[in-house]
């Protein structure tokens, strides 16, 4: 008789994907050493800004999968990350052009990783974002426990994404 499968641990939280735009081109132009330097700078900035409870789930080449237990914290942190990336890019010639996608959902924990439909959806959302943008799902805005002063959300429309049955209403977050 086989043992019962272990209970799945479901985590409610914000799933965040980041992606450096043009990393492959940069690597081809400037070589591995500068590409690694770019990744190190991204890592340093992200590590210095993650609030308590949030974590880097894993690195995905030039991108990151992050998890936040709080929607407001995820939005505020990702906007501050974009501001820091922009500062870094303008001060150096290093193109830290990062796009960020955020989705609030209930991924399943698998050892240190998270998996599930909501992770897949967040991965699709980041592909919609342009460099410097934070694009998030309507579910993320609904999960906010309070308002974020100075943060606006511009609708991007119902975005139809490959592998996702229904159009997803997406927004761009920005700080004014």
């Amino acid at each position: 008789m086989s043992a019962a499968p272990p209970a799945l641990e479901v985590l409610a939280g914000a799933v965040v994907f980041t992606d450096i735009v043009g990393f492959t081109e940069f690597n081809a132009l400037r070589g591995d050493a500068e590409a690694v330097e770019l990744l190190s700078i991204q890592e340093r900035i992200v590590d210095s800004m993650l609030p308590p409870g949030a974590r880097v789930v894993k690195e995905l080449g030039d991108g990151l999968l992050l998890w936040f237990p709080d929607a407001c914290s995820a939005i505020d942190t990702t906007l501050r990350l974009q501001e820091a990336f922009e500062r870094e890019s303008s001060e150096s010639m290093l193109p830290l052009w990062v796009r960020i996608g955020v989705h609030w959902g209930q991924p399943t924990r698998r050892r240190d990783d998270i998996v599930g439909h909501d992770v897949n959806l967040a991965a699709r959302i980041v592909s919609v974002a342009g460099p410097g943008e934070v694009v998030l799902s309507e579910a993320t805005i609904r999960a906010m426990s309070s308002e974020l002063p100075g943060v606006t959300f511009d609708e991007l429309g119902p975005v139809v994404m490959k592998g996702i049955p229904e159009p997803v209403r997406l927004y761009r977050a920005s700080r004014w």
Binding site: V21, G22, E25, F26, L29, R30, S89, M93, P95, W97, S127, V128, A129, G130, P131, G132, E133, D154, E155, L156, G157, P158, V159, V160, M161, K162, P167, L170
Partner: protein, 238 residues
């Protein structure tokens, strides 16, 4: 299955929300008061009215073709279907994975396609375009932001600030010389064209290319261009 054309009365300024996966979406914004759906839906019940001037239309497998009043706001999402908006629309938002997007004229525009080309004839206000590998071409526009990975970028005539980020595509920007231009690329060449007599404050940085500014130095506007390896030109005659 598409039936006969369907007329929907509109309460005034309206917003149409159109979804399609692979079918083409065509909108004509013209001098009329109602919404005419020429093809793409089966019955009037396929048009959802939220009572606040917002209408949701879910397209099927056939091309969605409709006519609406000039100035109508449009929110359009497709997976692979091309989107074409002709006439004078209001605020236009379009998101597509691989479909091409063409907007003749809009009040404001936010258009993004991963692999499709994006073309804007004229945009009175803010214009944002984002593509991954598609070409971005903007005609007459106000404040403009464009990002591409490998597609080329052309902004013919901007009367607001212009910001462009491109990994490897060629970038050409025409500005009125009263607003700022900022372009960052990795390997694409960049040409910024300003009207004769404009004296820009140019900050041109290239790691291996040779920046060239043929305009006299001054402070009429800021032109900031940085590239890893592409050629940079700031030239008069826009």
């Amino acid at each position: 299955m598409s039936g006969p054309p369907i007329k929907v009365p509109l309460p005034g300024h309206s917003r149409l929300r159109l979804n399609s996966r692979s079918a083409r979406v065509t909108v004509v914004a013209e001098d009329r008061a109602d919404l005419l759906i020429e093809s793409g839906i089966g019955s009037p019940s396929d048009v959802e009215d939220d009572g606040n001037g917002h209408f949701i239309i879910q397209g099927g497998s056939k091309s969605l073709e409709l006519r609406c009043p000039a100035g109508t706001d449009l929110v359009i999402g497709t997976l692979s279907g091309n989107v074409e908006v002709t006439g004078r629309a209001g605020a236009v938002l379009v998101g597509s994975a691989s479909g091409s997007i063409s907007v003749e004229r809009a009040l404001t525009a936010d258009l993004r396609s991963l692999s499709g080309n994006v073309t804007v004839g004229a945009c009175d206000g803010r214009c944002r375009v984002s593509t991954k590998s598609g070409r971005a071409s903007v005609g007459r526009t106000g404040q403009t932001e464009v990002s591409t990975m490998s597609g080329s970028v052309s902004v013919a005539s901007a009367t607001g600030d212009v910001r462009v980020k491109s990994a490897s595509g060629r970038v050409e920007v025409g500005s009125d010389g009263r607003n700022d231009v900022a372009v960052s690329t990795m390997s694409g060449s960049v040409t910024v064209r300003l009207p004769d007599g404009v004296r820009p404050a140019a900050r041109l940085r290239s790691l291996s290319g040779r920046p060239r500014c043929d305009c006299p130095a001054g402070d009429d506007c800021q032109v900031a261009v940085s590239t890893m390896s592409g050629k940079i030109e700031v030239v008069p005659g826009g």
